[in-house]
């Protein structure tokens, strides 16, 4: 009897979180999933469409191209915005004057996508642009970057990394700074080299942070929308479109809310499959 009472009051601690999330996220999610089975152009009542929208997600060439671009974003993020910051954090950890570096890398993370786009458009512009003008001083000429369909996705991934790198760098640095030195030193005395110490001892100790970083990176890169949209609307044409942009275009440009919703659901399931391991894993066992 007493035990049951204790469990119920324990749950009270979780109720506020549940209520807020229910109102602002779960209601829209249910609504959107339901819309995925409909055809709705907003101004006329919705019509039942069964699974036809979901089928379209996997059979339309433009959407498959969007999937390809999304995968580039995910890979780019994991390599340059997760692994790379970890490496830099390890370097920074060996350096005394690190605050100025921390700040330089983190300040881009504080900017909104709108502002980042304004800054980068002016930096990469072919007319009175910072980069072009700098190269001009050395007599070097280049082609317009943002409208070049071959490379603009990678350029924009660069902009994204510019913003996202700092956050993960700081998080990893925090983790590294507070790792107790004894186990590492003990291992080194026992003959382990720095690389082994890093992978066998330091990395596992970083798990609470690295799981957070990886999960966050996967979630944010799969639903990448702001940067390619604000910089070039997923163009030219649809060349640099990501799945989230496809979602947006079907819903808000072509008013096919049903197809847009289906894309959203597919994105979410993809994210779920990719990241659930990182969300749930914490380390050996769990606190009782």
């Amino acid at each position: 009897m007493e035990r049951r009472g204790k469990l119920r009051t324990d749950t009270l601690f979780l109720i506020p979180a549940m209520v807020f999330v229910l109102m602002s996220e779960l209601v829209p999610i249910v609504y959107t999933t339901y819309l995925g089975f409909m055809d709705w152009d907003i101004i006329n009542p919705p019509k039942w469409a069964g699974i036809s929208n979901y089928v379209k997600v996997f059979s339309t060439p433009e959407l498959i191209n969007a999937l390809k671009n999304t995968i580039y974003w995910v890979l780019g993020t994991l390599i340059f915005a997760v692994a790379f910051p970890l490496f830099i954090a390890a370097l920074l950890n060996r350096v005394k004057r690190r605050t100025i570096f921390k700040l330089i890398f983190f300040i881009p993370s504080t900017l909104s996508p709108t502002v980042a786009a304004i800054f980068w458009r002016r930096t990469l512009a072919s007319q009175k642009g910072a980069l072009v003008s700098l190269l001009d001083l050395f007599g070097v000429q280049i082609q317009p970057i943002l409208t070049n369909p071959q490379i603009n996705t990678f350029v924009m991934i660069g902009v994204w990394v510019w913003q996202f790198f700092g956050i993960n760098l700081i998080l990893f640095l925090v983790g590294l700074e507070t790792i107790p030195q004894e186990p590492v030193e003990a291992a080194m005395i026992d003959g382990a080299n720095p690389r082994q110490a890093f992978f066998r001892i330091i990395l596992p100790l970083l798990k609470p942070i690295s799981m957070l970083v990886i999960a966050n990176a996967l979630i944010n890169s799969i639903r990448m929308f702001d940067i390619p949209w604000v910089m070039i609307q997923g163009g030219p044409g649809r060349a640099s479109e990501t799945l989230a942009i496809s979602l947006y275009r079907e819903s808000f440009l072509l008013f096919k809310m049903g197809l847009g919703s289906a894309i959203a659901v597919v994105i979410s399931i993809m994210t779920l499959l990719a990241s659930y391991r990182y969300i749930l894993t914490l380390g050996k066992g769990r606190r009782a």
Binding site: A17, S24, R94, S112, V115, F119, V174, I219, R286
Partner: protein, 280 residues
């Protein structure tokens, strides 16, 4: 051995400096722009500076013009309210949840966590119309309350993720000891968990303040009278007109200063935590 260490350090420093130069290049480029007046920007080469006495004058007039033209005043205040509420609100709610999930007896804590976190997996654009309709039904459309609820709600899942992971690094013995001393759950939470979880608070507050401050879409759709600051920037650059580049960039810089300040003030609280104590 010492010589090897020195060479090592020099290499690291050089590498870091080159990387920092790349990172800071766009920001430096933007500062150059606001040093100039619109005419100077058009006529001079990008990297040629105007006469020194003009620079301060230009910065002042670019910023003043951007502030006035975009009517940033009220939006600035709105964003402060929203971002602060979201940061503190989501942190507090998540601290309760993180504490409970790890240090209290919850049945199936993974499911709870998952159920709360799953909201974050969804692309946010799809929330716009349902939330708009939902807030209207509740009569909370175009109110500060409605928007705060939405912002806090969206910030809670990540905040919970942070707090849960952090709570895991606090040894359970501390709370067991408190229980032996007769402290109740709520007291343990307030007097032990909260003070000890300052690093988690710093992380959550910084991230969620920044995210909420930088929001564009929700502030655009869910309110008309209480618009946040990023929507004000669009007044400076539209398809049917816009201000000269120097003023646009000045506006973007003004809009970005508070988040930079928040970062600078709180980054020293990232002191400990987020690692598993060895041997557990």
């Amino acid at each position: 051995m010492k010589r090897y260490m020195h060479f090592d350090k020099a290499l690291i420093y050089s590498f870091l400096i080159i990387l920092s130069l790349i990172w800071i290049f766009p920001l430096v480029s933007m500062i150059i722009v606001i040093f100039k007046s619109p005419d100077e920007f058009n006529s001079l080469h990008y990297w040629v500076l105007p006469p020194i006495k003009n620079i301060l004058k230009n910065i002042g007039s670019n910023i003043a013009y951007a502030w006035v033209k975009a009517k940033i005043g009220m939006n600035f205040i709105n964003s402060l309210i929203f971002a602060f509420s979201a940061g503190v609100g989501s942190a507090f709610i998540a601290s309760m949840g993180g504490y409970a999930l790890v240090h209290l007896k919850i049945k199936r804590p993974q499911s709870w966590f998952f159920g709360i976190f799953i909201g974050n997996l969804f692309p946010f654009q799809m929330f716009l119309i349902p939330l708009y309709l939902f807030l209207n039904k509740l009569g909370l459309y175009d109110t500060r309350t409605g928007l705060i609820i939405v912002y806090v709600g969206i910030c809670v899942p990540f905040a919970l993720f942070v707090y849960r992971n952090y709570a895991y690094t606090l040894p359970g013995e501390i709370f067991d000891a408190a229980k032996v001393d007769g402290a109740g759950k709520w007291k343990s939470f307030l007097k032990i968990f909260l003070p000890m979880s300052k690093p988690a608070f710093a992380v959550v507050f910084i991230f969620q303040f920044i995210w909420t401050w930088n929001d564009l879409l929700f502030g655009l759709i869910l309110t008309e009278r209480y618009r946040p600051i990023m929507t004000a920037l669009s007044k400076l650059q539209g398809a049917r007109g816009g201000v000269p580049v120097t003023i646009l960039i000045a506006g973007a810089l003004i809009a970005s200063i508070p988040t930079i300040i928040v970062l600078l003030s709180l980054q020293k609280f990232f002191v400990r935590g987020f690692t598993l104590t060895a041997g557990k």
